[in-house]
Every structure is written in C-alpha cells, then in structure tokens.
C-alpha cells in the first residue's frame, strides 16, 4: 500500500460528458475529489476541512475514530448532504451543481441499512434497479447475480425481516452495487460481518477496484482495512490529517508487537531496560508495541527478554502500517 493519501495533482480532468459505458468510470477523472470540505451541525463541526483524492481502480480507506465525521463525509460524497464550504467531485461531477449526475454514479451503503422488511431481497434489489432506471430484464438478472455473489440466493424469496444482521449488511452491499456504480462509498461495511464474510467483502472490493471502480471504505477498525486498501485517508475531528504528517508517521521505525504470558513482567523488563513502549491495540491481553529499527534489534530484544525470564510467546512486526500510522498520529478519540 502507498501512503500518504494521494494528493499529487490529478491528471487533467475531462469536461463533463457522457460516462463511459465500461465499468469503472470515465478515464482521466479522479474517482472522488474533495477540496476543503466543511459541514457543521449547529455548533458541532462534523466535517471541518477535508481534502483528499480517491483514485479510480483503487480501494481507499477512510479511517477515523467514532465521531470523526466519516458518516457525514460519506453523506456529502453521496450527494445527500450539502457541504457548508469546499467542493466535492464524484467521477468528475460536482455533487451540488450536478447532483443527479454525481448521484447516479455512486453506490452508497449507509452504516445502518434499513430494509423494507415485507419485501424479499429480489424485490428490494430490482426496486433499486428500477430506481436507477435499469431496464426490467437487466435488473432481474442483476438481482440474481448479486444475490448469488453475496451468498443470499437461498433467501431470494424470503421476506427481508428474516435476514440476520450480517445478511442484511450483505444485502445492503448488493443494493449499493445494483447499478454498477463507478464510485462505491461504504460506511463501516464490515461491522456485523463474520470473519468469512469479511474476507469475501475484501475480495469483492478488490475485484471492483480491479475493474476500475473507485472504492472508498470507512472504518474505525483498522485491521479490517489493512489488507484491502491501496491508500488511506485519515480523519480526525472532521479533518483530514495533513499528508506530510501521515508520511512522517509511516516512515518512522517499525513497531513490533510483543506478548508474554505475564504481561506485567514484560513491562517491568522493558522499563528496566529503558526501552520505550506503548500499549498495543489488543491491550487487554497485555500486548505492547515497541519501535525497533530492524529485525536484528528485535532478535536482540527477544534474547535479552528470555534471558531475563520474561515469558515471551509472541513477537511480530505490527502487521499493518495503517495501525502504526494511526497510533503514531496519536489523535484522541472524541
């Protein structure tokens, strides 16, 4: 993956014209471009200066703690909410002045997808196909295809109220994909999914990006996005974090995750050796994270710890740089 969040000047944008027939949107256009976007709800500045580009053909992670404005930002991108200032372009269309054009190119999946409980998944999907103006035969085929893809085929004719939370979440994703959007906006799509479904979600997102779609996924759970995203945008208190800061964070020494049977003795050992550490993301099982320059230093540390009778059972580089960046930014949760 590449950090920082891509902010390099985008290629020349095409003048707004008819969209390319092929999936993945028009060539030469940035998938999502936000410049200086702000939106307040009364005194709450939910989005307070967001600038980023999400390129076509890539999965972009939108990462931030609860209340950092991810949902609000996605609503603005989906053309549902008007920003107070700044501009947003989706597939090259301004979400305010070309709202319909932008909207029809976006597939938006809200964090809580409400389904019409009395309708069947097939009916729900074809209704949305109809709402996007797909011809009848096409929306039928599309509904069947998506239900198959998301392993909901066996519920195709059951009322949506019998679906479990995870199944509803998958139906929500299918709904967002009905019209083969150029830009996919997913708000915490992995919540409520079992591990297998998450892996499948990951594969679906990868495939879509490969086909040229712009995929923007929000989450507050870092590990969810690690393997799937190509770039990341960090949100904190409604602001995108300046790319140089994320860049700096990404190039610092690598963190290593260390776990011991007796976490207290591990921490005592590190303190005694005067090695700086911080609690890891799985702090409940006593995990600590130690920054080290190289695997050699890690091996040295391990030897010393074992010699000091610390019952280390795991030592591994922090699996993702996202998490490291996230921790390095050390931004507080609201």
């Amino acid at each position: 993956m590449t950090l920082p969040a891509s902010l390099e000047p985008a290629p020349e944008r095409l003048a707004a014209g008819p969209p390319d027939a092929e999936a993945g949107g028009r060539t030469g256009v940035v998938g999502v471009r936000a410049v200086g976007v702000k939106r307040a709800f009364g005194p709450v500045k939910a989005v307070d200066g967001v600038t980023f580009d999400a390129p076509q053909g890539a999965v972009t992670a939108l990462i931030g703690p609860n209340g950092s404005g991810k949902t609000t930002l996605l609503l603005i991108l989906a053309g549902l909410l008007r920003q107070d200032s700044g501009t947003v372009e989706v597939s090259g269309f301004d979400t305010v002045s070309q709202n319909v054009e932008a909207r029809t190119r976006v597939g938006w999946m809200p964090d809580a997808f409400g389904a019409w409980d009395a309708l069947t998944p097939t009916e729900i999907l074809s209704t949305f196909g109809q709402a996007y103006g797909l011809p009848k035969a096409r929306r039928r085929a599309r509904a069947a295809e998506l239900l198959e893809r998301l392993h909901l085929a066996e519920f195709a004719t059951a009322p949506a109220r019998v679906l479990s939370r995870g199944q509803k979440q998958r139906l929500g994703l299918a709904r967002a994909l009905v019209h083969e959007p150029e830009v996919l906006l997913l708000d915490e799509p992995a919540s409520g999914l079992d591990p297998r479904s998450r892996i499948e979600l990951r594969d679906i997102l990868r495939d879509l990006a490969q086909a040229g779609a712009t995929v923007l996924v929000s989450s507050h759970v870092l590990t969810e996005l690690e393997e799937v995203c190509d770039t990341a945008v960090f949100l904190s208190r409604g602001r995108t974090i300046a790319p140089d800061r994320t860049a700096a964070a990404a190039t610092t020494t690598r963190g290593w995750r260390i776990r011991a049977l007796d976490p207290a003795s591990l921490r005592a050992f590190l303190d005694a050796a005067d090695i700086p550490w911080q609690a890891g993301s799985a702090a409940s099982d006593g995990e600590v994270i130690v920054d080290m320059a190289s695997p050699e230093s890690a091996s040295q540390l391990l030897r010393a710890a074992v010699a000091a009778n610390v019952t280390v059972h795991t030592i591994a580089p922090v699996s993702g740089q996202l998490e490291e960046t996230y921790l390095a930014l050390n931004e507080e949760r609201r």
Binding site: L81, R82, P110, F128, A131, R175
Partner: protein, 481 residues
C-alpha cells in the same frame, strides 16, 4: 430544477414499492372487508328502517277505509263502501290548503283521483268499485320519491367520513417513518427526484383509497340505481370526493415531511382533518353574533293604528265566540276581515344575521364541497321544496342550507294579515307584493375544490422541499442516515 423532474418510471417505482408493502400487510385486507361490511350494514339498516317506519319517501298506503301518506298524519282518501270515494288530502288540522284534487269516475265504476300539491309529490289514487284503493306517487320531472337518493347520500357521507379517518393513516408517517426505518436516504440517493418520491407516495395512498371506494361501490350503485340518479353527476360527486381525500393524503405527506416524530405528524394530520371538517362549522356558528347587525328592512304591513284596531277586533271576536268554539258549535259570527288593501311598505330596523358575509367558511369543509357536487335531478331545480321534503337526499339538504346561508336574510318581509291564506309557489302569500326572482343557487364546489387543492398543493410542495437533496439545514434532531 432536478428536484421537480418527474418520470413515469420513477413514479411507478415509488408507487409500486409503497403498494407492495401495503398489500403484504394482512391487516389491510381485513380493513377492506370491515369497511365493506360497515358501509353495507348501514345501507341495509337504512333501507330497512325506511320501510318499517314508513319514513319518506316510501309509498303511500291504503288501509281500513282510508289512504294515508307515509307521514301517518295526512289522509288522502276516505273510502266509504256506500258512495264514491272521496279523495281530498287533509292534514291533521283538516286543512286542505294548496291542494288541488280532481276525481273522475272511470267506465268500470272505479274512481281515479289525481292530487296535486306544491309540497308533496303528485298522487294518483284509484278506488275500485268494491272499495279497495291504491295510491302511488306520480313522476315530477322524471322523479318519483324513492329511497335511492337517501342511500346514495348516506354511502357518500360514510365513504367521505370514514375516508377522512382512514386516509391520514396512509401518508401521515410515510416520510418520517421511512426516515426512522433507514429506508428513505437510500431511495433519495438513487436517480429518483424528490418530486417522484413524494408523488409516488401520494399516488400509492390515493390508489389505496380507490380500493376502499371500490369496496363501497356496490352500495353506492344500489343508491344510484334505485334513485335513477344521473350518472354524470354521480361521477362528478365521486371524483370530487376522491380529490378531497387526495388533499388529505397530501396533508399527511406534508406533515410527515415537516415533523420528525411519527406520532406528531399523525396528530397534526388528524388535527388538520378535524379543522377542515368540524372547526370550520364551529367557526361559522361562533361568527354568527359578529354578523348580527341592525339592518334596514322593508316590511309590507298595515299602518300601526289600523293593525292595532284589527287586532282588537280579533280579540273581541275570540272572546265572544270562545265558548261556542269550545263546544264545537259552528254557528258563530264571521271572523273580522283585515283591511289588507291598506297594507303599505314600511322601513324598519331589525337585527339580522348576515350569513352571506361568512358562508364562505363552508367552502373549506369537505362535506360541504362533496354535498355541493352531488348529482341533482331536474326536479331539484324545478321544485326545490318538494325535492327537499320528499327525496331524503341529505346531500341536497346540505347544499340547500349552504345556498340559504349564502343568500343571507330577506330584506323584505310580508306581515300583511291576509285572510284567505293562499300560499303561492314561492312560499309567500299569493297576494304578496314581494317578487322573488327565481335565482339559480350558486355552485360552490369548484371553488371549494380549488381551495382544497391549493392547500393540498402547498403541503405537497412542502414535502418535496423537505425531500430535496443535498440537504442544507437539517431539522433539529434528525440524521440523514
């Protein structure tokens, strides 16, 4: 601009979605069945009651040597086995005012009488030689009294009344309810315009009302067929009724877009319906004192001293003949006759209620609008008093009442004490100098409907405005999704 774009595909998408959800709920069918039974039950009860109690306009009947009108008071024919039948309508007091009876003996020895009246449909009575009699109403302008208009009126009023109760449930929570269920924003995010979502919901609710109307149709048709009502007029009336209910749909839609809580929007929708249906009437009544003002009136009467003198003569006559009259003696001195030739115009100031200044309040009332649009057989124009009294047409009575409110009080009255008491076709004494020009009653329903549609349009506009995306200011306490 995009907010208001409408396409057939978009409308049907939303309407089909709403209807499909509605059809899935089993309560719905139950509601339709209950509706059919309630309206049918009421219709049958009314027909039955009318027949049992000889409520107008059932047929006159003959029994025990006399033929009676259904009011059980007036006797039309006295039949004696001995001589020819005597047909002369008489009310309880024995008066035969305003009636004209012609009887003729038929070749077979039976007597055929035709009885004309300004206040009663013409009757034909035939008394056979053996004394058996039969009476029936004759047609007036193609109308003869039947129960049809009563049944039609009742069904229309019930469909409207129950419709006003049911309709708010169709739309009053449709926007804020969807917002709570999290289904609104995903729909808005599609290609659908705000107007398509709002109008689709409105059409779905309206289509549901058609189902209710269809369930009431057999009973409505019963009234139309029995009464022989003009089909075009029936269609206009039903159309106006459906449009009035569509306005209520729009009210519900507007409130559900304005108010975040579903309970609040339901309450306000019902409050709006009550305001239009009842508070307009209450306001009308409360406004009556405000329009009661001293007004100069022309009165045709005797000069004061002549009047006083005549009243004195009358009371003297009553005193003198009191006992004789009480004993049933018929040989009394003739009643003094008032010098009516001395009657003249006098201008007096009276406190009159000028309903013509406030009758417009009725224009807001759905019942008044629908009643005014009700079918009107020709006889209702040519013989309004006759039709009002004998048709049982409640809608006509409402319209008649509104026309009277609109006309306001009479500024001319006749207090001259005529002795022969003959009443002219206008309801005034025949000798009266007051000329009543037979003016056509104003047709108010197009105005009322226009006002209703304007209100409905305003609420629909509000709903569309509230659905317009991208949202600027959000109502307090709402989230988009």
């Amino acid at each position: 601009m995009k907010t208001w774009s409408l396409s057939w595909g978009g409308l049907t998408t939303v309407a089909a979605l709403e209807l499909r959800q509605r059809v899935r709920s089993s309560r719905w069918l139950a509601a339709l069945i209950v509706w059919f039974l309630v309206i049918g039950g009421i219709t049958l009860l009314v027909i039955n009651a009318a027949q049992t109690w000889k409520i107008t306009p059932s047929q006159p009947y003959c029994a025990a040597g006399a033929c009676h009108l259904p009011d059980n008071v007036s006797t039309v024919c006295q039949i004696s086995a001995a001589g020819p039948a005597v047909c002369a309508p008489a009310d309880a007091a024995g008066s035969t005012a305003g009636e004209e009876t012609t009887c003729s003996v038929q070749p077979d020895g039976s007597v055929l009488c035709s009885i004309l009246s300004d206040f009663r449909p013409p009757l034909s009575c035939s008394v056979a030689a053996d004394g058996t009699a039969a009476c029936s109403y004759d047609e007036v302008d193609g109308w003869r009294p039947t129960i049809g208009p009563l049944v039609f009126s009742l069904v229309v009023l019930f469909v409207l009344g129950l419709g006003l109760l049911v309709t708010p449930a169709l739309t009053a929570t449709s926007i804020n309810g969807d917002r709570h269920a999290g289904t609104l924003a995903t729909l808005q995010a599609t290609r659908l315009s705000a107007a398509e979502i709002a109008l689709g919901k409105l059409l779905a609710a309206w289509a549901t009302l058609f189902a209710f109307l269809a369930a009431a149709l057999p009973w409505l048709a019963t009234g139309v067929v029995i009464g022989g009502l003009p089909i075009l007029g029936v269609l206009v009336c039903v159309g106006v009724l459906l449009l009035e209910l569509a306005v209520v749909c729009a009210l519900g839609l507007g409130w559900s877009a304005l108010i975040n809580r579903t309970s609040g929007s339901s309450l306000l929708t019902y409050a709006s319906v009550v305001t239009l249906s009842f508070l307009t009437l209450i306001a009308l009544v409360l406004a009556l004192p405000l329009v009661s003002t001293p007004t100069q009136v022309q009165v045709w009467r005797l000069p004061k001293d002549v009047q006083a003198q005549w009243e004195q003569e009358m009371s003297n006559w009553w005193e003198a003949n009191d006992e004789a009259l009480a004993n049933g003696e018929t040989t009394v001195s003739p009643q003094p006759v008032a010098p009516v030739s001395q009657c003249h115009w006098e201008t007096v100031t009276e406190t009159l209620t000028h309903t013509e200044r406030i009758w417009q309040l009725t224009v807001l009332n759905p019942f008044a609008i629908v009643a005014d649009a009700a079918p009107e057989p020709p006889v209702a124009r040519s013989h309004p008093n006759l039709y009002a009294g004998y048709s049982g047409d409640i809608l006509f009575s409402v319209r008649h009442g509104i026309a009277e409110l609109a006309a306001g009080p009479n500024l001319e009255s006749d207090l001259c004490p005529y002795s022969d008491g003959a009443i002219g076709p206008t309801g005034l004494p025949e000798a009266s100098p007051i000329v009543v020009s037979p003016s056509e009653p104003a047709v108010i329903w197009p105005w009322g409907l226009a006002v209703s549609l304007a209100i409905g349009g305003l609420f629909f506009w509000i709903a569309v405005r509230r659905l317009r995306i991208p949202y600027g200011a959000l109502p307090k306490g709402t989230r988009v999704a």
